[in-house]
Symmetry: C2
Subunit: 357 residues, 2 copies
Amino acid sequence: MSRSILMLPGDGIGPEIVAEAEKVLRKINEQFGLELHFESALVGGAAIDETDTPLPEDTLDKARKADAILLGAVGGPKWDKRPMASRPEKGLLGLRSNLELFANLRPAILYPQLASASSLKPEVVSGLDIMIVRELTGGIYFGQPRGVRELESGERQGYNTYAYTESEIRRIGRVAFEAAQQRGKKLCSVDKANVLEVTVLWREIMEDLRREYPDVELSHMYVDNAAMQLVRAPKQFDVIVTGNMFGDILSDEAAMLTGSIGMLPSASLNSEKQGMYEPCHGSAPDIAGKGIANPLATILSGAMMLRYSLGEEKAAEAIEAAVSKVLDQGLRTADIMSSEGRKVSTREMGDAVLAAL
Amino acid sequence: MSRSILMLPGDGIGPEIVAEAEKVLRKINEQFGLELHFESALVGGAAIDETDTPLPEDTLDKARKADAILLGAVGGPKWDKRPMASRPEKGLLGLRSNLELFANLRPAILYPQLASASSLKPEVVSGLDIMIVRELTGGIYFGQPRGVRELESGERQGYNTYAYTESEIRRIGRVAFEAAQQRGKKLCSVDKANVLEVTVLWREIMEDLRREYPDVELSHMYVDNAAMQLVRAPKQFDVIVTGNMFGDILSDEAAMLTGSIGMLPSASLNSEKQGMYEPCHGSAPDIAGKGIANPLATILSGAMMLRYSLGEEKAAEAIEAAVSKVLDQGLRTADIMSSEGRKVSTREMGDAVLAAL
Ligand SMILES: CC(C)[C@H](C(=O)O)[C@@H](O)C(=O)O
Ligand SMILES: CC(C)[C@H](C(=O)O)[C@@H](O)C(=O)O
């Protein structure tokens, strides 16, 4: 059974890190006889520069046909002054919505080898392993109406709409309950139900779902408190489920608790388990082209792809084991470098993972 | 010149901590001959229990007439199942909007005596001193339309509106630029201008204001990145300005970086400098009535009141010095207790501050 993988390097450090992940996936492909086929396409600023649009038709076509997508990152100062509708980010958002990739899984895991990189005290974060399930195709990111209008007074008003339907909430809720079932069986739903009506509905639907998953312990937390609790005692969490905007904020906060965001992959899935996989970090334009970026989050995104979209658990584990091995060997890119490590380039790190496979 | 202060104890630990702050303010009143007059009224759950509404007319009347308000906290599980419109929080939100208290100042300061309480490494947070300026009467908290509607498909949709006008942004911007002028002259405006139109306008207005404050260095940051940077390297910030919802999240995150949220006061001001002052922590129903809550955030809110609404800088400093002194003496309520401290009750802490004045 042949499967097609679409590579979308994107902007900034994207091409460098995706190149390393592709090397690793090609080797795994051989070793495990997976019959993966690789294509690539333009997205984000790279697509704007070539075709004047952040999500060319050709890219969207290829994306629809692919079994899975590996994305580097999009965006950078070069395109920051463009109007909203033609910014690199629209390429990413367009892929998410066109493919209905509503379920964003963002693990925040502290690698024991990198514990000292965290800005938190070791006892607060050692062993940290949280899964954030973020709704990705609804909420205020896509709500209508939106824009800037002129009021009768003559002044302008900017406005956006934060909306969720019952079915949108239910489908992301199920993903989160199921993730909790396969982990520590604890699910915390984050909302602002004391202020926002849309999240009152959110909380109600999560409560409804509770009955279908009696083995999962469901709790609710206001988003301001969640932002605090992540700092105070992050290990209290197992799985967190929340909307698009709160998820954007909390998943980045949680990722940074580990101190090594250059290690964290993510998956965005639709209901057919077709998925887009990308590192949690962004395009890092300041270090682009220098060959020093950390490719491990992208390589680990490849492992998530094998697990969630291709059903190749063994191959996924092989990559994860190889990454753990290079960390044990003391190899470190600049972002995770400490006094005991040996500093390596993007390519050297990729080669080391290949060798460890 | 006689000034009137309205005390709103509210719910949970509110009455206990406000009682201690009132003792301190009465003593300062005598010592400095301030001619303060004290009244009190019901708000939140306490008001619901007595009058069936979270913000009785009488309270709103008194609040309008007061020069300043000292609030404890509102809310608790007892009222959590009530419909949104009649929850304790509506009392707080109603005061904010009726008095147009648009400027919320939330300092996140690490007291050197309490450095070990933080979950972050000492080198990351020692000397931390951030001021978060949060817009408090607009944005998604108050945006219309809002509610839950039935779609043609028969399913329900919850919706809220995130909106800001130019003038709303400009007035909070000015408060923030002025705060920066009096501090480290650095202002970071937090938005999500790569996704939300309303924050594109926000960023544009902040840029406009830059010209009026050439001595302040303005920067912009996306909210997800801000949530990360607060964890990674919080001392990079001086003043942060942001909207109501992002400010709710980031100010709580920043407060928790100190590990001693029981120490942090806040001010909510209108354009006449009339203000409502309250601790950053909430009503803590789990410890209410036990006499163990930390009254210092409320006492320090009293100091902020003297500074911002009453123009009594010397009196404010006297309270702050007294608080610092009791910390030096090693007195600690349970929330900030460490091995070297001497544990005291809410009342003992209040008495110690009185004695130190
Ligand atoms: C680039 C941006 C549009 C995006 C988002 O806000 O979703 C990013 O921050 C992310 O979290 O994937
Ligand atoms: C109680 C709640 C409505 C309030 C808010 O969200 O503004 C609180 O969290 C705060 O930050 O003062």
